[in-house]
């Protein structure tokens, strides 16, 4: 594992991590008691949280397959977390053997775990990087090695932007990344929102507070604000919609009501 320039002074696994909480929601055991404790507290307010995560994974799977069908064979997944199953390189590799994937996360534990999972995969690698420092990500040796920025790339920002506060200007970070992408690239994005949650907002707010408590505030944005991330992109049909409604392969109506929380969309650079 390459030593990140911004390495924290220490790693405190007594502090919950959103990556490990996510893993817990997905039934994984890549987590510690602090993570599970936080996850359970959030689930007291929103018992369907795992379903939202599952919907995210399912959307991502469909989007990656869509991108592969569009001929894209390079993927940059920022905020990749702890890959348990159904990861981009697995999905993409099945559609397009030889597809190249670079994962990016700022959680050193997630990065270390990804490295272990990806050991022996020449076509995938992981970067310890921060979404808010796009230039460092783009200039990393891993991106340099695996991704040709002169050709279309699928940029995945799945369930990450709602962890970036407005004062850190996530729009600028996305714009800077987008500027680096060749025409025909895709932006694959999901974002949490109070819209679509089958609960009163106050109750959902309890779960939001849990994230605030663990110093990873969850920023719920309106559909309008989420759409602004796609500035400069042509929206792929059906546009910015609840996750189950984006190019469903089964019956959306069969999905859990929680799966309709938040929005998902894919845009294409002109």
């Amino acid at each position: 594992m390459e030593r990140p320039a911004w390495a924290p002074r220490s790693i405190d696994i007594s502090v919950p991590s959103v990556s490990r909480i996510y893993d817990f929601y997905l039934g994984g055991s890549h987590n510690f008691e602090v993570d599970r404790e936080a996850a359970r507290r959030a689930m007291e307010f929103m018992p369907g949280l795992p379903k939202i995560m599952q919907a995210n994974r399912a959307f991502m799977r469909r989007a990656v397959r869509f991108a592969a069908d569009q001929g894209i064979d390079q993927f940059l997944d920022i905020g990749s977390g702890i890959p348990t199953f159904g990861n981009v390189h697995e999905v993409a590799g099945r559609s397009r053997p030889g597809a190249r994937v670079v994962y990016v996360d700022h959680d050193p534990v997630a990065v270390a775990h990804s490295e272990a999972v990806l050991a022996g995969h020449d076509d995938a690698d992981v970067v310890a990087g921060d979404l808010l420092k796009p230039r460092e990500i783009l200039a990393s040796p891993q991106v340099e090695r695996l991704i040709d920025l002169n050709r279309p790339v699928a940029l995945l920002l799945v369930a990450i932007l709602h962890f970036v506060e407005d004062e850190d200007d996530p729009y600028a970070a996305v714009a800077e990344l987008s500027d680096a992408l060749a025409p025909g690239s895709l932006l694959v994005l999901t974002h949490a929102s109070y819209e679509g949650i089958p609960l009163p907002a106050e109750r959902a707010g309890g779960a939001v507070d849990v994230y605030k408590d663990i110093r990873n505030p969850l920023i719920m944005r309106s559909r309008e604000d989420i759409a602004r991330f796609f500035e400069g992109y042509d929206m792929v049909e059906p546009g910015l919609v609840p996750m189950p409604r984006w190019r469903p392969e089964g019956e959306p109506e069969e999905e859990d009501p929680y799966a309709f929380s938040g929005f998902a969309g894919v845009g294409r650079t002109a």
Partner: protein, 714 residues
């Protein structure tokens, strides 16, 4: 997998559908339910086989249970739903043709085995994932630790390799760590030697605020301070540093350590001292130089009440001759020796000797009693110069002139004091040198005025500040006015009317006498013409004549004859109306070159008078050679005749001179006639003309005519 409706395949598929519908909601899979059902179908087939096999294959049942975990059915509810489904539907859909009792029993065993397989797989997966995440955390921590280690190693390298001295101490002043550079600065080899307390590192030169700043810092009232500070090295030598001390706080802001950064400035300080020394000392003699002396003098002059100063300003007599004849190197050696001797003269506190430049030195004494100390100091200096100085095997006699200024502090500026000393020194020098003189305010004032007049002269001529007065020349025989002597005056804006004795020597000195003399000549000749025009060719004695003084400088000026001729021609005045007076002293030893212009003028008809006759070395024999037609007897001869009866010896002398003059065909004029008796006496002695207060004081040209009329009628 197709099969006829309600055939075994179709029934199997229906079982899988029921199963997937029951479990899908509790799985974590990202597959769709259809895909999930497709995943379950092979498992359903395997279950069907186990159900109908002749002997029970528990392993296979366990494997199906484990496969559920692989399909991400990790929620216990998934097992519960699965077992419910198997219990209710497996026999129904897959048990066709078997014994219902056996099938039920087999299904029950199958479920037990599935549950065990599921649990085993789930436990294995959980442990594997826990292990994986623990490993990842460990690895990440290792990476961070490595980064920390690298960064610490980097900082250690900075600390050790820095050119600047770094030391860390706790707030009690215990020195915890010092770097190599600091040890080098202090000349210590063992870091433990640095383990002293900061408070021990005092030095007598510590500025008063150093330890106050220190206390403020360790109390947390100050973040840092910067001082210039000296330290003793263990070997006793002194280390000078630029010291910056900063307070280090922990993450909560509590003061923890003090960090000292020091730069060795010892060399630079020495260099500064040397530069300061060089800037304030004379390179040749090593004595304090002019600027250093002025600094000290200024201090002495600003000293409090009761304090006085005494200054000896020494200039060597004839030093230029030493330089010119023996060369500058010899001159320099002489100066060095003189400097050493002077230095030995002023060793008391409050005394100093400095070289102002060239061969000029000053000695300064300060204190309450300089009135008599400065005399002693000057005496010591004169004594010190008594014995000859040996330079290149020659014994050189050194003499000097000293100007002494002494006085109370607080009255004069350094420049004023030095000017007074300079003037006084020149007074000593012009009195013959090898002596000292005490400053005298009047003498100073004279010199200062003289200086002022000298510099004002050229502008005065341009501005027309000069004017001419005329003193009548009276014929002793008949008392008629025969002419007048032109006497130049300066109407000075500040000093009023100044006589020629105040400024003619200055004009001589600066050469301004030439234009000034020309102006006087021109004005006088013009006046002579006016007189002739107004009063005709005069009375019995012919036209009024004009006497004009020629200074020695004018005498040697090449333009003298030409200027005179030109003025006479321009004004139309006959040469015989003009008499040029030349002092006897100016003609002493005169050669033919000097006399030539006078001869030319005399040949033209201009009278030449020998002025102040009898004051110089009167070479009577020489009189014949001179183109002179008039002798003007100095007033010293006539003074004795003011009493009655006159000194018979004086009478004889005058009588003799007159006889001599007449025998050489020279007319005799006497000056300074103040009484009638005097005039009568001089007439009897045979003098031709006279001037003096008895007749008239010098005055404006109009007065002359009045006198002439009075005389003519009288």
């Amino acid at each position: 997998m197709s099969g006829e409706p309600d055939g075994p395949q179709d029934r199997l598929r229906r079982f899988a559908t029921i199963w997937s519908r029951a479990v899908f909601p509790v799985t974590s899979t990202s597959s769709t339910r259809t895909e999930f059902e497709a995943e379950l179908l092979p498992l359903a087939r395997r279950l069907s086989k186990v159900l109908r096999a002749r002997s029970f294959d528990a392993e296979e049942a366990r494997a199906v249970g484990a496969a559920l975990v692989d399909a991400h059915c990790t929620d216990p509810e998934a097992l519960s739903q699965t077992l419910d489904c198997v219990d209710a539907y497996l026999v129904l859909y897959c048990g066709e043709g078997g014994d219902p009792e056996d099938l039920r029993a087999r299904s029950a065993r199958l479920q037990h085995a599935m549950a065990a397989g599921f649990a085993g797989a789930l436990r294995a997966r959980t442990l594997a994932e826990q292990e994986a995440i623990a490993q990842a955390a460990l690895k990440a921590q290792g990476v961070v630790a490595e980064a920390l280690h690298a960064s610490e190693a980097r900082f250690r390298a900075v600390f050790e390799g820095a050119a600047i001295g770094i030391g860390i101490a706790d707030l009690d002043g215990n020195i915890l760590q010092v770097n190599q550079a600091l040890m080098r600065m202090f000349g210590i080899a063992d870091p433990a030697l640095g383990g002293r307390r900061a408070m021990e590192w005092t030095h007598p030169d510590d500025a008063p605020q150093v330890w106050r700043l220190y206390q403020e810092l360790v109390r947390g009232e100050r973040e840092h301070y910067h001082v210039e500070k000296a330290f003793y090295r263990p070997d006793g030598t002194v280390l000078w540093t630029n010291l910056t001390v900063s307070l280090l706080r922990d993450a909560d802001g509590t003061p923890q350590y003090q960090l000292a950064l020091m730069e060795d400035t010892t060399e630079r300080r020495l260099l500064n001292l040397r530069l300061r020394y060089e800037a304030t000392h004379d390179a040749l003699t090593g004595l304090p130089n002019r600027s250093f002396f002025f600094e000290r003098l200024e201090k002495a002059l600003n000293a409090g009440p009761g304090q006085r100063f005494g200054l000896c300003y020494l200039d060597l007599d004839g030093f230029k001759a030493v330089n010119d004849s023996l060369g500058h190197a010899a001159g320099d050696r002489l100066l060095v020796e003189v400097a050493d001797r002077l230095q030995a003269c002023a060793t008391a506190p409050g005394e100093m000797v400095a070289r102002l430049g060239g061969d000029e030195f000053v000695a300064l004494t300060t204190g309450p009693d300089t009135r008599h100390e400065v005399d002693e100091l000057a005496g010591r200096i004169m004594n010190a110069l008594l014995s000859p100085v040996s330079v290149d095997g020659r014994e050189l006699t050194v003499r000097g002139s000293i100007g002494i200024v002494e006085g109370p502090a607080g009255e004069r500026s350094p420049a004023e004091v030095l000017r007074s000393a300079d003037i006084t020194m020149y007074r000593a020098k012009s009195a013959g040198g090898n002596r000292f003189e005490l400053a005298d305010p009047e003498a100073d004032a004279r010199v200062i005025t003289r200086h002022g007049l000298t510099t004002a002269l050229p502008a005065a001529l341009e501005r027309g500040e000069f004017f001419i007065e005329y003193q009548p020349l009276v014929h002793l025989g008949d008392g008629s006015v025969r002419g007048a002597e032109a006497l130049v005056r300066w109407l000075h804006p500040q000093h009023g009317v100044l006589g020629p004795d105040r400024f003619i020597p200055l004009a001589e000195h600066t050469g301004l006498i030439v234009p000034l003399g020309r102006w006087v000549l021109e004005q006088s000749v013009l006046q002579a013409r006016l007189w002739r025009e107004r009063y005709g060719e005069g009375g019995a004695a012919g036209p009024l004549r004009i006497n004009v003084n020629l200074s020695p400088c004018q005498l040697t000026h090449p333009g003298l004859v030409q200027d005179t001729v030109e003025i006479l021609e321009r004004t139309g005045v006959a040469p015989d109306a003009l008499c040029l007076e030349v002092t006897e002293s100016a003609l002493i030893g005169a050669d033919d070159d000097l006399l030539k212009p006078l001869r030319r003028l005399a040949e033209m008809g201009v009278d030449i008078a020998l002025d102040d006759f009898g004051t110089g070395y009167s070479n009577l024999a020489n009189l014949r050679r001179l183109p002179v037609s008039v002798l003007k007897l100095d007033r010293s001869f006539t003074q004795s005749m003011q009493q009655f009866p006159a000194d018979p010896v004086d009478l004889k002398i005058v009588e003799g001179i007159v006889a001599l003059a007449h025998s050489l065909d020279l007319a005799v004029t006497v000056e300074g006639v103040e009484t009638g008796a005097q005039a009568e006496q001089l007439r009897i002695l045979g003098c031709d003309t006279a001037q003096g207060w008895y007749y008239a004081r010098p005055g404006p040209p109009e007065r002359l005519h009045e006198l002439a009329l009075v005389d003519a009628t009288g």
